[in-house]
Structures are given as C-alpha cells and as structure tokens.
Symmetry: C2
Subunit: 209 residues, 2 copies
C-alpha cells in the first residue's frame, strides 16, 4: 500500500486530495515539518527524506518520491480512469506541468513559504507585493473556465486549491479576485476535497505550530 | 519553427541548452525581463505572455508554453531519440519531475530569485542561510553519480547546470561541495552546454542590467 508523509494543511494536502479523488487507499504518517519528528513513533523525519519536507510518497516497492509536482503526477497516472491528469504526450499534459510549476514556485515557494517560515517583516514585504500580480494570472485564466486544465478536475486543481486555502491565514483576501473565490468554492464542494480538508483541519489542532 | 523568448543567462538558458542538445532549430527572441520590452522590435513582452517571465516557448501551432518544467519536458519529448527525458510512465520520468521541481522551487525561486530581484538585505538573509541546506541535497545525490537521473544527460541536468552557474554571482562558492563543482565542470564540457553559455554570455553584455 502507498504511504504518504504529510503535515496537516501543508502542501501535502494536495496529494491527499489526489489520493481521495482517485479512490486510492494509502497509509498516512504525520511528520512535523518544524521539529522534523514523526508523530507515529517519534522517529527522525530526515531519515525518511533528507529534505525534511512533505509530501513524501512511499511507493509499493519502497522507493520514496518527493516534490508535489512529481507525487501528484505519479498518483494521477496510477488511476488513468480517474482522469486526474491528461495522458502523457497530450498538449494538456504540458499545461498541467505548467500549472504545477507555477503554483509550486510562484504561489507556494515565492509567497506562502516566506510568509509562514520567515517571521521578520523584511523578508515578507516584497513577496506580499508580488503575490498580487501572481494571483492575477490564475484569476484571468479561470474567468469563464471551471478547471485549470481542459474540462475536468486534475491534480493541478488539487494543488491550486491548497494554496488558495492558505491565502487567508497568510493575510490575503481572495475576494479581490471573484473568479478565484468562486473557483475555490466549487473545489471545496467536491466530496474528496471536503473530506481531505476535514481530516487535516482536525489533525492540525492536535499539533503545535 | 519553434520560438523561444529568453533573457541571457536567466532560467531560459536551460531551454536553450535542451534545444541544442536535441539538435532542434529554433528562433530566439530576447525579452528584457526587467523592462518587459522585446529587443527585436521594442514590443511589450507582456503581450507575448502576461507573466512577463522567461522562458516562453511558441509551439508550431502558435500556442505559448511557459514554466521551465513544462517547456523542458516538451522539448525533450519532441526528440525521444535524444533521450533528454525518460519515457512517460517510467519511474525515472517522475524522478526527472522531482528534480525539475526541486531545482525550480528550492534553488531558483527560493534563493536565486530573491537574490537578484530584491536588493535589500532583509529579504536576503533567510534565503542565504537556507540555500546551504538546499544545495547539500543535489551534492549528496551526485556524489558517485554522473547525472541527476539515470545514466544519461537529461533536461534536469540542463536546469541544475543553469542554477549552479548563477551561484557565483549570487555570492555562493560552489567549491564547498566538491561533487557539485565536479558536476558543473563535466556539464560545462558538453558541446551544447558550452555553445549555449557562449551565446548567452556574449548577449548578456549587450543588455543593461
């Protein structure tokens, strides 16, 4: 069985959403991303992955895969019938990769990461200016579209949904972009997304920040 | 013919390396990433791509693809015989995506980007501490390996090579990681990599910073 190392409401949420959307059973292990301890047994998360970052997906053969862009595509390809990613070779597969990169680099790494890891204002001023321009890109794209890629929910939507959920705790009001606010509402209405968020919001309360 | 919008020695260098390694002819357009002007005709780069960021690859059908992770995989898949990416479905394809994400998010976006875009020290202190841990990941991986993925040069190597070239102007001495220094030397000895760097270093002198 697949195993996913996660921290509640961190970027590994999109991998949980993908697993639930695909109907793939997995074991979940809570790894504390600040202390680097495993909640299961107090072990050292860096022994699971030297990066000490979530998500880590342990494959059936024991290999460990990291980085949301790779983990999400791996999960999607396990269940092609769930259509969580366009087929390899299809131009939309590159569109999926384009969005996974943009969400991972521009929204997560360039904004959410400094916001939640760096506590001094000096590190935050520039990312806060820049995120406004960044968010206008998916907002323009989603005006009149239901999903990021093609006409169905993909793992790129799982990843964007996670970043949009974190905008409010990061101090950004999503209501500025009606297309993004409506999109997030649609995504949150999906049973698998709702279930994933419910599980992780409950677990989030059990771990110290 | 494919067209690539680039800025000399910016992250679009890895796309140029991939095109040269694959032996794919392309038209190159210099887009000034600070002024957002096109050097060809003074046009507005944001009309080519609202992101105003390189690389932008214009496909044969006129569609525009952005984000290095997507552009590099697209180029690699155009010439499977050049083996610049493992075949879709191969576990190494996910390893390639894992490295493209890590290089793009952790080295480029979390370190090089703030270093070259944010001029105040407050924005730079934390990324400078963090990059030391970040670089230890590829350094450990490349100790005893010739390439990032499998046993051949891939577009992930093109992307890592670009980030390593920028460490020195970013004030980081790569000699601290002998495996990375030796890797960069090997990569720079490849004819296509040497040619790409030669072209862009010459062009870099023609544009104001």
């Amino acid at each position: 069985m697949l195993q996913l190392y996660f921290f509640p409401m961190a970027c590994s949420l999109s991998s949980r959403i993908a697993l639930l959307e695909a109907g793939i059973e997995a074991q979940y292990h809570l790894a504390h991303i600040w202390t680097k301890r495993l909640v299961d047994d107090g072990g050292d998360f860096r022994e699971v992955s030297p990066k000490g970052a979530v998500p880590v997906l342990v494959l059936e053969n024991g290999e460990r895969l990291t980085e949301s862009a790779a983990v999400l595509q791996y999960i999607a390809d396990l269940k092609p019938e769930a259509r969580l990613a366009p087929r390899p070779g299809d131009i939309d597969r590159y569109r999926l990769q384009e969005w996974l990169s943009f969400v991972g680099a521009e929204i997560h790494k360039a904004f959410l990461f400094p916001t939640f890891w760096y506590k001094d204002d000096g590190s935050l001023a520039k990312p806060r200016v820049r995120i406004m321009q960044t968010l206008s890109v998916p907002a323009a794209h989603l005006a009149g579209r239901e999903f990021l890629v093609g006409d169905a929910f993909t793992v790129a939507d799982a990843h964007l949904t996670w970043t949009l959920l974190l905008l409010r705790p990061a101090g950004i009001d999503i209501a500025q972009w009606p297309a993004l606010a409506a999109y997030l509402e649609r995504m949150q209405a999906r049973p698998a997304v709702k279930e994933a968020i419910g599980i992780e919001m409950a677990l989030r309360k059990t771990v110290a920040a």
